[in-house]
Amino acid sequence: MKINALIIDDEAPARALIREFLKEHPTIANVQECADGFEGVKAIQERKPDLVFLDIQMPKINGLEMLEILEPNLLPSVIFVTAHDEYALRAFEVNAVDYLLKPVARERFDTAVQKALSRIQEGTGNQREVSGLVSMEGPGPRWLDRVVVRVAGDIHIIAEEDVLCMEAQDDYVLICTENDEFLKKKTLKFYEQKLDPSAFIRIHRSFLVRADAIQRIEPYSKDAFVAILKNGRKISVSKQGYAGLRKRFDF
């Protein structure tokens, strides 16, 4: 079985080291390189590698964000190779094969590759485990500062401060900015936990909203209200949501 591998790292020497280490693994025949996350996404879609060596801190979008925007059926086996130890928990949440710390020891590298190869041969390499089993809590940035989405091949980076509201739509979350909307395969619960709670408030089973984007709140029916955002968008407010808003804004 011939294995295709892809190295995604913004540092040429780091890529060269992995390439050098891979020479000891003849089953991995085809090794390619990318220098940033955008290139990485494109390369994974086009070449469908079996195994990816992925750095986390990279320009534009980081390694974890990269995996987020890939279709699940395209997810390769991933070995993270990074100098940061604070992302380990999140890395295993996306079902990474292994998490190597730079500088990388050859023995440690070989073990990781063996593990990946056996996973690929068993055919369990690119199955994503049920997410949410591993807690996302851990050191590292406390709150999300941006959301990366992909629309028809284009990658958009939405700054946290540009997000006006989020709406749950089945398996997806609709992310609304001033003038745009993006769909992302995530749960609203995820964002409720990962976005700064002093900025965002859950006002309905299906809505998470930026508190200072709300311009007006009007009664809608007996127990329901409607919030009007600064871009004119109207979203539902449930009874509990209204209570939460009253507490937040003290009215």
Binding site: D10, A14, L17, K60, K102, V104, D145
Partner: protein, 360 residues
């Protein structure tokens, strides 16, 4: 820890107080022996009786004086000669003397001397008893004052030590935070790679990294370094980054001769260059480099680090910690946290350090 010492005067307080008490008892005994013949007829008083007299008088006095410590301890400074203070002292002193007199009269005259029929001896020696009691009280008062001063001095020293260690901890932490560990790990990883592909370059990078670390670790949190040395470290840093990121990074600085000796806290410019690389140059396609300028006026020297950045990705949080750290260090050195200013103008980011000129 502060609490259990709240009332305790000074180490060895009780020992000194006992010594003072013993000395006064002895003097009391000698005085009685000397003037015991006042008003003849009492010369047959035994030494045992006089010793008992001295013991009872001085013990009662010293027990009565003990609470005086709290007055001394909690008296506010500078209130010594206020009217209220004097009235308090007179009333307190009078009360004390009254109680002491009562104890002596009942104990000595009423019990001790009544048996031998020598009540007159007590009356005759009352003046000298009172005079000596006053002197003893004065001695105790001054002893308490000394304890208070000692206590205050000790507290001042403790506060000073505490403050110094706090400052040192803060500074050490600040300095430690300046040195980005990921930079070190990534550089070591690059070196590890170069040992396989280009041993000469690996050796060169080891030397540069060592020189940089030597400079960084040598920085004494309290001391200043020269701009020339700091810029040498920046140069080393950028050359290491260049090995990691390749020709993308392109820079050229020239330092004027008269700026080289400018004094500034060590490792305070380098993080600004690190930011420029991380949030600017690294995110941009093509070659670019940080720029550096020195602008001087009569009040201060402004060191400006600027870089181009991509507004689409370069405006996220995460650069705050490093800048905050620099501000803290500037505050420690110059007592002013406003000496670092940043500005975003179009596609350019400016960080300006305002180093005050030493006043002469």
């Amino acid at each position: 820890m502060q609490n259990y010492r709240f009332f305790s005067p000074a180490p060895g307080f009780l020992v000194f107080y006992m010594i003072l008490w013993a000395s006064c008892t002895l003097v009391h005994y000698i005085l009685l022996g000397r003037y015991g013949d006042l008003g003849a007829g009492f010369t047959d008083l035994s030494a045992r009786l006089l010793a008992l007299d001295a013991f009872i008088s001085q013990t009662s006095l010293f027990l009565l004086l003990l609470p005086l410590w709290f007055l001394v301890r909690f008296r506010k400074k500078g209130k010594d000669f206020s009217l209220a203070g004097i009235v308090n002292a007179l009333v307190g002193g009078g009360l004390l003397i009254g109680i002491w007199y009562f104890v002596m009269r009942e104990g000595l005259a009423g019990l001790l001397y009544a048996e031998t029929g020598a009540e007159g001896f007590f009356r005759n020696t009352l003046g000298i008893r009172m005079a000596f009691g006053f002197l003893a009280g004065l001695a105790v008062y001054h002893f308490f004052l000394a304890c208070r001063l000692h206590r205050e001095a000790r507290e001042a020293i403790e506060r000073q030590v505490e403050l110094e260690s706090l400052v040192q901890q803060t500074e050490l932490q600040a300095l430690k935070n300046q040195l980005n560990p990921h930079f070190i790990y990534n550089s070591l990883n690059a070196i590890s790679s170069l040992t396989l592909t280009d041993a000469e370059k690996a050796r060169d990078m080891v030397v540069k990294l060592s020189d940089f670390l030597r400079y960084a670790l040598k920085q004494d949190a309290m001391q200043l370094t020269s701009l020339e040395k700091e810029m040498n470290a920046v140069e080393l840093y950028l050359q290491i980054e260049k090995v990691r990121f390749g020709e993308k990074l392109n820079h050229r600085f020239r330092l004027e001769e008269h700026d080289k000796n400018l004094e500034l806290p060590g490792l305070i410019l380098q993080p600004l260059f690190e930011n420029a690389v991380k949030h600017g140059i690294q995110q941009l396609p093509g070659q670019s480099g940080p720029s550096f300028r020195v602008i001087g006026n009569e009040k201060e020297t402004i060191l400006e680090v600027s870089n181009h950045f991509d507004p689409a990705v370069g405006r996220f949080k995460g650069e705050g910690v490093g800048l905050e750290n620099i501000r803290n260090r500037l505050r420690l050195h110059y007592g002013n946290g406003q000496l670092l200013q940043v500005e975003k103008r179009g596609h350019e980011f400016f960080a300006r350090l305002h180093i005050p000129k030493p006043s002469r």
